[in-house]
């Protein structure tokens, strides 16, 4: 019962109109969800592994400071350099400074949500560093000046024709619709970059407190190249990524990729323990770990800390019926889908993103597939409640709900309002249905017909049954 259209409404309308995009996103998500089912069924104790993963995360986030301290100590013991970034701007400035201090000019990047979150590419470009995305999808996004739409498969919204045109235009290669050849073009182009680069930037999937290990999971090999080839490796790590023990990795690695692509493990799992040592023939000379807060600490201290358990597997996106219809771009956020509906308003201006927690039917599929059992629907309901308390809800809707509350809790008023509504919806009605409600109520019939209150209410029927019963008894 909203009267103004928000940016989100417009985004949704736009993506809903694109039938082919919807079909692609729907199919891809469905096949991933099916792969997940197959992969998890092969692991007899998968549910117990999820429990363990959940408990480890719960414990770690509860004692975040303790584990962060140990992690920092260990990274330093390994010869790494640790930096702290309270905000996105701090992180960008810090990494730009590392580049300037070392005279670094050419950066290769592994897909990392944290760098998307801080908008690192623009900051580095401003500092005179040329940045290449090296994940195939992100590379194409960068070539085509686009935005990623999924946290694991960023160009789920692009077809081979658009990709071919972008490569032809930007790389000067012949147009081809063969995905194999397109991939080869990217490989050749980036090989040259990998040979010349001097700065490698990655995120972190898991930071192990016990050993100071940085764990990165990739499939393409760009993660290995970007953290092996350049002189300096900078890892931008959200503070919630820390885990206590090396052996905990065996739990998380087992659930991470099975939950999304259905692989038992990603092709490459890289564990890095500091910069190259005397005895190492190759690898980066410097390793910097930039610990990013950017609102996480506030979340950790509040009522939504559960969302920090997220290991960014992407399963909830694939499962979400809303995401499957509107795709990632509609959310206008680094984190789309169910995880984004919770995380985005918490990390950013909640007013601007007020629609996101509402854009859910609370079906609970995201919770069912989440490897760390985050109760996303519950968090969404809490966010909605906070919005209502914080007056982020339009006055008309507030008024409507106040009236509803009153009517539902007063039997006489309830009976009376059913009658009034029955007659109030008579204009434009076809029998018991109305497809064109007037005024602010028009929102209710914008996408579907709305049933009118029945001519004979349940109470009426009940009463007449009772009356009849009384008669037969006599």
């Amino acid at each position: 019962m909203k009267c103004s259209h928000t940016w989100f409404d417009e985004n949704v309308a736009r993506t809903l109109a694109d039938e082919s995009l919807r079909a692609v996103i729907g199919q891809t998500s469905q096949s991933k969800i099916e792969s997940r089912v197959v992969a998890t069924a092969k692991v007899p104790n998968f549910e117990q592994l999820r429990d363990l993963a959940t408990q480890i995360k719960q414990h770690t986030i509860e004692h975040l400071d303790h584990y962060l301290e140990r992690f920092i100590e260990q990274v330093r013991a390994n010869g790494g350099i640790v930096h702290f970034a309270a905000t996105a701007a701090d992180a960008n400035a810090c990494i730009a400074r590392i580049a300037q201090d070392n005279g670094l000019k050419l950066a290769v990047k592994v897909k990392a949500m944290t760098t998307e979150e801080t908008g690192l590419n623009a900051a580095l470009a401003a500092a005179g560093v040329q940045v290449f995305e090296t994940d195939l999808g992100e590379f194409i996004v960068q070539l085509d000046n686009d935005r990623p739409s999924h946290i694991v498969t960023p160009i789920i919204h692009k077809n081979r024709q658009t990709i071919a045109r972008a490569m032809q235009r930007e790389l000067g290669v012949p147009y081809t619709e063969d995905p194999e050849t397109l991939t080869r073009y990217a490989r050749e182009h980036l090989r040259d970059v990998f040979r010349r680069c001097d700065l490698g930037i990655s995120g972190v999937n898991f930071g192990v407190a016990e050993t100071g290990t940085i764990c990165i999971c990739t499939n393409e090999g760009n993660g290995r190249l970007s953290t092996t080839r350049p002189r300096v490796h900078v890892a931008l790590m959200g503070i919630e990524k820390v885990i206590p023990r090396l052996v905990d990795l065996s739990v998380f690695l087992k659930v991470l990729s099975r939950s999304n692509t259905g692989q038992p493990i990603t092709v490459y799992t890289s564990l890095m323990n500091g910069p190259r040592r005397e005895s190492d023939p190759d690898g980066p000379e410097q390793l910097h770990v930039v610990l990013l807060d950017n609102g996480r600490r506030a979340i950790q201290q509040g009522r939504y800390r559960e969302i920090l358990h997220c290991i960014r597997c992407g399963a909830c996106l694939n499962a979400c019926p809303v995401y499957r219809h509107i795709g990632g771009h509609a959310y206008d956020s680094v984190y789309p889908g169910p995880i984004g509906k919770v995380l985005t308003p918490l990390l950013n201006d909640p007013k601007h993103y007020a629609d996101l927690p509402q854009a859910s039917s609370l079906c609970g599929f995201c919770r069912d597939v989440c490897p760390v059992r985050i109760d996303i629907p519950d968090l969404l309901v809490r966010l909605r409640r906070d919005q209502a308390d914080g007056k982020a809800v339009p006055w008309l809707r507030r008024l409507a709900f106040r009236a509803l509350f009153w009517a539902l809790s007063t039997p006489r008023l309830m009976r009376w309002s059913q009658r009034v509504l029955r007659w109030g919806t008579v204009v434009g009605a076809k029998g018991d249905w109305n497809s064109r409600l007037p005024g602010p109520a028009a929102q209710l019939t914008r996408h579907r017909d709305t049933p009118r209150p029945a001519a004979k209410t349940f109470r009426d029927l009940w009463q007449s049954e009772r009356d009849r019963g009384d008669q037969t008894d006599q």
Partner: protein, 207 residues
């Protein structure tokens, strides 16, 4: 009406191998590893140590023919026990580059032949570590990676790897390799060799 958030203090759970292991030590580890490694897209060859160099040389020949390379350039892991024998067998069929020559050699190689630190039966993973004469690039830059795994190196599960199989002083880089380099970014179509090797061969040498 408001529900209060109750916060339970959760202790750090113990990692019980009977819960965590997806592959137990009592199975035929070599067979399980071979099966899983093929499932993730690696080509597996089982052999006995006596004919290992022969098999590798044969494999190199076949791969080169298929890739259309007349005289392939190789990088051979300096830690590999059979390195000298391999070089001798391959002398007329291939050029063996020296990784000490740096990027020119590493980027030029068509095939990288390496040993492994360990292998994981559960996931079919090769475990490679950096260190003395152990280049991180040899299993990464060439189009084809050939790995030699000794059956005794195979551990049942990731749990066993992280719990007890890694060197005391943890190496700078530990890489779990489970298949050829893969992407499905373009329309969900699986393509190998996007950045890393397009083909991975694993030679499992039984005792």
């Amino acid at each position: 009406m408001r529900r209060s958030v109750t916060r339970q203090i959760v202790p750090l759970p113990a990692i019980d191998p009977s819960v965590v292991r997806c592959c137990t030590p009592d199975v035929d580890l070599a067979a399980t590893f071979c099966e899983r490694a093929s499932e993730v897209g690696m080509h597996v060859v089982r052999t006995t140590s006596g004919i290992c160099t022969e098999r590798v040389a044969e494999l190199v020949g076949n791969v080169a023919t298929r890739l259309g390379i007349a005289h392939p350039k190789l990088i051979i892991d300096l830690q590999l026990a059979e390195r000298a024998a391999l070089c001798a067998t391959l002398a007329d069929r291939a050029t063996v580059l020296d990784p000490h020559d740096g990027d020119d050699a590493l980027f030029a190689a068509d095939i990288g032949i390496t040993s492994v630190e360990a292998a994981v039966a559960e996931t079919g993973s090769l475990v490679s570590v950096s260190g003395q004469e152990g280049w991180r690039s040899t299993s990464l830059l060439p189009v084809v990676h050939i790995a030699i795994v000794r059956a005794a190196q195979i551990v049942p599960d990731l749990y066993d790897l992280f719990e007890s199989r890694l060197p005391k002083r943890i190496p700078t880089a530990i890489t779990l390799i489970s298949g050829p380099s893969k992407t499905a970014d373009i329309e969900g179509i699986l393509i190998t060799g996007v950045h890393g090797p397009r083909e991975v061969y694993v030679i499992v040498v039984d005792k």
